[in-house]
Symmetry: C2
Subunit: 322 residues, 2 copies
């Protein structure tokens, strides 16, 4: 086998209907289906070379050598599919503004899935790539596609994968990301969702309710109803964060500035600007809005937090080789 | 009937197991039982005089004349019990530091229930007083008693009342109240809990779970286990506030400084000080602690927020005539 290098680029995605809890930790099967927007601004580029001269897998992230245990475990899945046992060199670069704190395991494992499968001689279709990326990080299965993407929970490895949702042409959804902190998370999303599944008295209601949210948001997309789309997204995020507050021990990703930013968005909304917020396993707020309102929203957030904390991102493309 | 004036004093109470939702709006029957601590520091004094010369009820609060519609409606219940139809003068004074924002309808209606029933010639026992106070404001039924108090939800007017929980002598629970804002509430507790009951997908789980919290906290009190007592209180409060975030439309009483104060309490706790927080339908935090730790907690909160924002309160007495 030739030691050919393949390089892939995959973009990060932000869930509008949240994934928060696994029904299978090993296969990363989620407790519920989710829906996300892939963003153009933030992406990971990863090169993979299977090289028989290597004694062990090598992993370089942003130009420095990293512990490769998780990457190796993922490569093992690829090697098994390709029936090879060659070690690989993985070189990965996050293209995220250094202050943004938006580097994500979603873009990382989507890029790795594409580059590694090609380098291993596999030619997977998108559904297969989505399944593979999922094994590295659940939300990575959504970053295989561009724009709005649904991840159907499925019941096993075969049936749990993502696919794109067609965005109506005049539905110009955009995101304004506000970076509040780039600190390490107090509790990782993996640990946080696990604690929630195991201890929150609200969890079974969440599962039932979020399925309704998913149906309703897909209907809102079909009807080009941006207000309903935004409202469902914001309320779904709040219901997810409510789970964390109801866990034992309880926890929260909110920082004082998270509340301040939420209040700014609510105020803008009360003034007639259609904007809604969502946030994940961290304090940073993402504002969902229409392209025409990006300027006024970035202006308001920049005034309060500094323009170096505010980033605009539109819908991004599918993972692709470069 | 002589126009005799009776004056009563009742203290505010802070719920540790929260009341958040009614099953009967007219009778103010709660969806779940609750448990509170009556505080010594904050109270209302109310004088009531039934006077045949009055053409209508008169209500003075903190030396200024107020709309008497709610007070009159409450007096109607008293008049009905006493079989009189005389109008009354009600003079009420809140004894709460002016910046504290801790004036409460609980102390107000407990004092009014005691003073008005006596002035109307009734001689109600505590259980009857608790039932009567409940009709003005649900949590007022707990302010009839001092110290730790349980309000059993009941099924009708007769069975929904409060009673005291014996505090072990060496269980010196104290509260440090941090005032974050004295602004009017964005949404009243009455409206907030109603929205939650009607729209939160988590509400039925809350009802089930909070009954467990109540049993567990009573056991912790019996066992003088302050850590468990504090932990249950804090988590019950967080589960209540999680309900607000899951309502439609969602809402929250958190301000940026609420999060900041929670983080300070969590940090003190990680340093070995047994302190826990609770909060109600507003941004102000109440820290539950032992008497011996009051100084270090007030020092830390004063450093961050100013000493004029920090108030210490111990267990307060039952409502009484003065």
């Amino acid at each position: 086998m030739n030691a050919t290098t393949y390089t892939a680029r995959a973009h990060t995605n932000i869930a509008l209907i949240k994934y928060w809890g696994k029904k299978n930790e090993e296969l990363i099967l989620p407790m519920n289906s989710s829906l996300s927007l892939t963003l153009d601004r933030f992406y990971t580029e990863t090169s993979v070379t299977f090289d028989e001269r290597l004694k062990e897998d090598l992993f370089l992230l942003d130009n420095s050598k990293k512990n490769s245990i998780k990457v190796s475990k993922f490569l093992d899945i690829v090697r098994q599919k390709a029936a090879i046992s060659i070690k690989a060199k993985v070189v990965s670069q996050n293209h995220v503004p250094s202050t943004a704190g938006l580097a994500s395991s979603a873009s990382a494992y989507a890029a790795l899935a594409l580059a590694a499968s090609k380098a291993a001689g596999l030619d997977l279709n998108k559904k297969e790539l989505s399944r593979l990326a999922r094994r590295g990080s659940g939300s990575a299965c959504r970053s295989i596609y561009g724009g709005l993407v649904e991840w159907q929970e499925g019941n096993d490895d075969q049936t749990s994968f993502a696919y794109p949702i067609k965005i109506p042409t005049d539905f110009e959804v955009t995101m304004v990301a506000l970076v509040i902190s780039t600190d390490y998370k107090k509790i990782s999303s993996r640990a946080g969702m696990k604690r929630v599944v195991e201890t929150s008295p609200y969890y079974s209601a969440w599962i039932q309710n979020t399925a309704e949210d998913l149906n309703n948001i897909k209907q809102a997309i079909l009807e080009r109803d941006f207000e309903t789309f935004g409202e469902i997204s914001e309320e779904n995020a709040m219901k997810m964060h409510a789970l964390n507050m109801s866990a034992h021990p309880h926890f929260s990703y909110f920082e004082p500035d998270t509340i301040k930013a939420m209040q700014i968005v609510e105020k803008l909304r009360s003034q007639g600007i259609s904007c809604y917020y969502t946030l994940d396993a961290g304090p940073n707020l993402k504002v969902i809005c229409l392209k025409k309102d990006v300027q006024v929203i970035t202006d308001f957030l920049s005034d309060s937090f500094g323009q170096e904390k505010v980033f605009v991102a539109g819908p991004g493309p599918a993972a692709h080789l470069i």
